[in-house]
Amino acid sequence: MTYPEKIERRIEEFPEMPALCRNLLQSLEDPNVDFSQLEEQIQYDPGLTSNVLRLANSAYFGAAGSVNSLRVALMRLGTRRISEVVTAIMVSPMMLRTLSGYDLRTQDLLQHSVWVAVASEELARLKGYRDVKMLFTAGLLHDMGKIILDPFVREQQENLLHEGLSQSFDQREKEYLGMSHAQAGATLLGKWNIPQEITAAATWHHDPESAEEYPEQVNMVHLADILGYAEGIGTGVDGMKYRASQMAQKRLGLQKSDIEYVASLTLDKMNELQSLLT
């Protein structure tokens, strides 16, 4: 079997998006969704309920004052945040694993993903982009393809890491495995049937120039990702071997002080969310 075939098969065999999560995401597409109906769906899962409460009370998602009823928590989060919170709770456990091909420890992929989710939102806020849909989730799920590619990266580690080439790591993945982690992740997310914004960000996060749709999500996730690597957040063997897009920086009018400010804001928020999701 060729690598692309092996990768396809691994995507086929990868768990489906949990049904409850998919149903909730569908209900939440209706802006006039009935909160009592959401409450009904969630409350039968005690683990999910307690996690939703914990996140609703976090500094990141929460507001002043503590909430201890699910109904109030849902109202306070609002439809957009509920979908982000529920997806984060459902998908985080899949990210908690050692990826030996990429040399990532158990917590690293989740940590990096939470960094990108938070930093994307901070960048958007700082540069005055309002209501960039699904940005948090797009950031959180951008690297799911690493879980798919990891065993093959391990087999080809020597080729992927040999020095002397100026190719970025995603280009090397394409060369040696026939597919980058970005493409593999996008295929998985496509199979999960989740909103396009999220799949687009995963597809183009190392190649934002080529993005055909959702430039805001793609550029923010790209820049937040590079910033995370620059700061050493969840960097494995591939960590520093990526390129920052000049186009994305220009598009946002980004300055040195902007990215340093975003980095300073993101660290503590990442730590809080990571510990709540672990």
Binding site: L161, S166, S168, I226, L227, Y229, A230, E231, G232, I233, G234, T235, G236, V237, G239, M240, K241, Y242, R243, A244, Q246, Q249, L254, Q255, K256, S257, D258, I259, E260, Y261, A263, S264, L265, L267, D268
Partner: protein
């Protein structure tokens, strides 16, 4: 081995000869260790960003996030605990960059420049430096012996202090 982990944007000081201070995954961040072999006291810091002026509020809460406020804090505390400037051994690692970086993401270079200025202003020498490149590094400082190690991409390099018998 009693490893004591120094998180990102944090620092630790130890006088316990059995301790090994360690910090992981230095990308463009800088890791600095300061060690007095006579007093057997050492400190390690892991700074993310060069200058605190970018976010004064954060600098007040987390001074070790920035090279300027963090180094000042760690050095003051080391001097308070009895280290002597003339005996200090200073090692620096990190400050790397992403591929072909000619962008605003050159945080590593800025971190290292600020660090050099601070050491120079304090008349301190860097004894070991392992900086730059496109790699991520893990460093350790053995408080008992002053041994400093840098691990990157599976290879570990040891730097030992000269033995005085």
């Amino acid at each position: 081995m009693p490893y004591r982990i120094v998180d990102i944007a944090d620092y630790k000081i130890s006088k316990n000869a059995g301790d090994i201070l360690v910090t992981y995954s230095l990308g463009s961040c800088v890791g600095v260790t300061v060690y007095d072999p006579v007093a057997q006291i050492g400190g390690m810091i892991h700074c993310m960003l060069p200058l605190s002026k970018v976010d004064r509020d954060k600098a007040a809460q987390r001074p070790a996030m920035f090279v300027d406020t963090g180094m000042q804090l760690m050095l003051n505390q080391l001097f308070d605990s009895g280290v002597r400037k003339s005996r200090l051994k200073i090692a620096v690692a990190g400050g790397s960059h992403i591929l072909n970086d000619d962008s605003i993401f050159k945080i590593g270079e800025r971190n290292f420049t600020v660090l050099r200025k601070i050491l120079w202003k304090n008349s301190m020498l860097m004894n070991i430096q392992d900086v730059g490149g496109e790699i991520s590094r893990t460093i350790r400082l053995h408080i008992g012996t002053g041994r400093f190690t840098v691990k990157s991409q599976g290879t570990e390099v040891h730097y030992d202090l000269p033995r005085k018998d």
